[in-house]
């Protein structure tokens, strides 16, 4: 027995060291969360416009086309709770902040918070790279290796960054996501729309209090700090917005309008804007490069001019 345990320890030792090394490499791997936090911490005083939100703004708003010095701190599946957390975190670091752009999507109020959903694993990125203090995940869930596909991708990115001089990891220097280059709209668009709407409508009639509270808190923070808050809804294809559950969408927009009145914010709704066509979209509800440029310019004109 002693021989077995001794040999097992000797066998597992290099493996454990190797895995610990890979865990460290994955942690150090370039990613948007680390980059954005470090950027704001270092260059916060130059930021006048902060773009929050989920993938709709991560891919859909390019700060390069906004007049005021802008930075995009949106991330995939980022919900209102984390938008609020980031705003609070960055307010101190951005003394010259004048505008906040917060996208409102169809699912903003009706989707379960991140720590209750399928993408709970993203919380550990906020904890590791953005100073968030999480209490919902156990010690194993916080390991990089716990989410294997992401772990594998992070290891790959690290080695590309270190040894292949790759600098592009899906976002540019102002935080905009560069991955959706061309339109991928095809004949399957109806099916895609049905699947997407189904995913974005977990339970009709259920709205999460946490989301509404976060929405109000963001607006309150902006008002108290003399920051102009702009709610915006990014454009979508008609196959998407025609299928929205009207109760869900009406409740969301009316809630946002109430917040606007209460906190002197503004709301620009481009969900069914007919200036956008299928060429402008990567998929049913995300813009591609062409559409992002168009939308960012329109937004710039509407907000700043």
């Amino acid at each position: 027995m002693k021989k077995f345990i001794l040999k097992l320890i000797i066998f597992l030792l290099p493996l454990s060291v190797g895995l610990a090394g890979l865990e460290y490499i994955a942690f150090k791997s370039p990613n948007s969360y680390r980059y954005k936090d470090e950027y704001v911490m270092q260059h916060g005083d130059s930021i006048k416009t902060l773009i929050l939100g989920s993938s709709h703004s991560f891919y859909g708003i390019n700060p390069n086309f906004l007049e005021n010095s802008s930075f995009n701190v949106a991330n995939v599946s980022q919900d209102l709770k984390f938008d609020c957390y980031l705003l609070e975190r960055y307010l101190k670091k951005c003394p010259n902040l004048q505008y906040v752009i917060l996208p409102i999507s169809y699912f903003s109020l009706s989707s379960p918070p991140l720590d209750n959903g399928e993408e709970k694993f993203r919380i550990k990125f906020y904890e590791k790279y953005m100073g968030y203090n999480d209490t919902t995940m156990n010690i194993f869930e916080k390991l990089e290796i716990y989410d294997i596909p992401i772990f594998q991708e992070k290891i790959s990115n690290y080695f590309k960054y270190k040894f292949c001089d790759v600098k592009d990891f899906g976002f540019d220097s102002l935080g905009w996501a560069t991955g959706y280059v061309f339109s991928k709209i095809d004949d399957n668009i109806e099916n895609d729309a049905i699947k997407t709407i189904k995913r974005h409508t977990p339970q009709v009639g259920v709205f999460y209090v946490e989301n509404i509270l976060s929405l109000n808190k963001i607006a309150e923070l902006c008002k108290n700090n003399n920051i102009k808050l702009y709610f915006i809804t990014t454009p979508t294809l008609c196959e998407y917005h025609e299928r929205l559950n009207s109760d869900v969408w009406n409740y969301t927009t009316s809630t946002v309008n109430e917040v606007c009145i209460k906190y002197n914010a503004s709301y620009y709704n481009y969900i069914d804007d007919d200036r956008f066509h299928s060429d402008d979209f990567f998929d049913i509800d995300h813009l591609c490069w062409q559409g992002t440029e168009k939308f960012s310019k329109i937004l710039n004109d509407d907000i700043f001019n």
Binding site: M1, F4, K7, L8, F11, L19, F140, I145, I148, Q152
Partner: protein, 480 residues
């Protein structure tokens, strides 16, 4: 609790250390095994622990009563039959209630009676088929006098709930496993090392082969109407390796874990895809289930010691039951009958026991004839798996029709190219150890006598598993 989870990687060493270092006395050790096994099972669902406890108690009490009534055959039969009926009733309710109810409603609607059915929406307890059959084998063997009933209830609970094989087999026999629970286990270094090696191989088959094949299979099935015939055929091939990697991988992990605890479980897969005919395939695939059906259904029905018509009938019944055992879908039944159709000609020609020995015994490579036999058998098996995998009979028919379309000759394979490399690697390893009980069981011969080289192989497999595993797939056989 899944084998391929961090929780299990923590659970196993803790149980191992406590088992050998703390709970050394037999009864305490067995009690600890029961607690650990119930924690293992309850990690998935605490509610269904009551079901496994009920099944265990029913069989335990039956064993005692059967022995008590040893001078009264009628009462013995009554107890045995009651135990069988009750256990199968629980199994039947959990597995087949919605199926039969729904099918009955369809039949009524078909003949003009409007009917409705409220789906009870029963959740299928994980592993229920496996532990139920294991419990039944005990009481039947006691009834037959093959084994003396035990009064050690803790050992009996340990026998039924032993966590490595609890949820997906191998289905153990009381004659093999129960005596091991009743006597003190000795730690054996070489068995433990062998166990670790088998666990490693099981994880490789499950996490690299099966889980990556699953991605290709799901993609192909989701778009089967627009894929070429060759792609669809390859979808069948990938599913063949998915189910093999999944199920035999689980069995290897189970058997390997058992070795760590000084317990020997029966081999469940014997390299079935090297079979030269369908009869040999069924002697090598899910051995614990096929032998269970043989010993407890086929032989009591007369087996092959009766007229040819009766033998054929018995054979069809066994394959039918085997299909039904897999689940509540007509496709499983058709799959069973399909295999019966392939098996029967061999039976009639008395060639079902022609290929008993390992293929190409003592040879490096098979002959051309053996190779063609293996490939032909494999193709037939693949079409069976297509039926097995199909969500409905109609889809299965459509899928197979499309395989035989002109588009077969496009030889397109847009999916699964990388996992194909893993499959080839696995087949090569298993080919060279086809006379052993699992693929990685090399006996330190030749250059493998150097431990450094063996460790390099182990590390390579571990790294390959970490780099290429696809963690989002569940074990297929959990649903049975």
């Amino acid at each position: 609790m899944l084998f391929n989870s961090i929780e299990f990687l923590v659970f196993l060493p803790i149980v191992f250390i406590l088992y050998w270092f703390v709970f050394k006395q037999l009864k305490i050790q067995n009690l600890f095994l029961v607690i650990a096994s119930y924690i293992f099972y309850g990690w998935w669902s605490k509610e269904f622990l009551i079901l496994i406890a009920i099944t265990t108690l029913l069989s335990y009490v039956s064993g005692i009563l059967i022995d008590k009534f040893k001078n009264n055959k009628t009462q013995q039969q009554f107890v045995n039959a009651t135990n069988i009926i009750l256990n199968l009733a629980i199994l039947g309710y959990c597995k087949y209630c919605n199926f039969f109810g729904g099918s009955f409603v369809q039949l009524l609607n078909f003949i003009g009676f409007k009917a409705d059915w409220v789906t009870i929406n029963i959740i299928l307890p994980v592993g229920i088929s496996f532990y139920t059959f294991q419990a039944l084998s005990y009481s039947i063997d006691v009834y037959r006098g093959k084994i003396k009933p035990t009064r050690d209830i803790v050992a009996f609970f340990a026998y039924i709930s032993f966590f490595p094989q609890l949820v997906a087999g191998p289905i153990e026999r009381a004659t093999n496993l129960l005596p091991q629970m009743l006597k003190r286990r000795q730690f054996d270094y070489y068995s433990a090392v062998d166990g670790c090696r088998q666990i490693l191989w099981g994880f490789f088959k499950k996490m690299v082969i099966a889980d990556n094949c699953a991605v290709a299979v799901d993609t192909i099935w989701n778009n089967y109407q627009s894929e070429s015939g060759f792609t669809l055929f390859m979808g069948g091939v990938f599913f063949a390796f998915q189910i093999y990697g999944d199920f035999s991988g689980y069995s290897d992990i189970a058997i390997g874990c058992a070795k760590l605890f000084g317990i020997s479980l029966k081999q469940n897969f014997n390299f079935p895809y090297f079979s030269r005919d369908i009869a040999e395939f069924w002697r090598r695939w899910h051995i614990s289930l096929t032998t269970w059906f043989k010993d407890y259904v086929y032989i009591p029905m007369g087996g092959n010691r009766c007229s040819m018509q009766r033998v054929l009938f018995n054979t069809i019944v066994i394959f039918l039951i085997s299909g039904i055992w897999h689940g509540a879908n007509w496709t499983f039944i058709i799959w069973g009958l399909y295999n019966a159709t392939l098996f029967i000609p061999l039976l009639i020609l008395r060639k079902n026991r022609k290929n008993i020995d390992v293929v190409a015994k003592n040879k490096f490579l098979p002959t051309l004839r053996e190779t063609s036999q293996i490939l032909i058998t494999f193709v037939f098996v693949v079409f069976g798996w297509i039926i097995f995998r199909a969500p409905s009979i109609q889809m299965g028919i459509n899928y197979i029709e499309r395989v035989f379309s002109n588009s077969f000759f496009s030889f397109e394979m847009p999916y699964g190219k990388s996992v194909a490399i893993g499959i080839i690697f696995m087949l090569i390893v298993e080919w060279f150890n086809r006379d052993r009980s699992y693929g990685l069981q090399f006996n330190n011969y030749g250059i493998l006598k150097y431990s450094a080289l063996r460790w390099i192989i182990y590390y390579s497999i571990i790294i390959a598993t970490i780099l290429f595993m696809n963690i989002n797939q569940r074990f297929i056989y959990f649903q049975f």
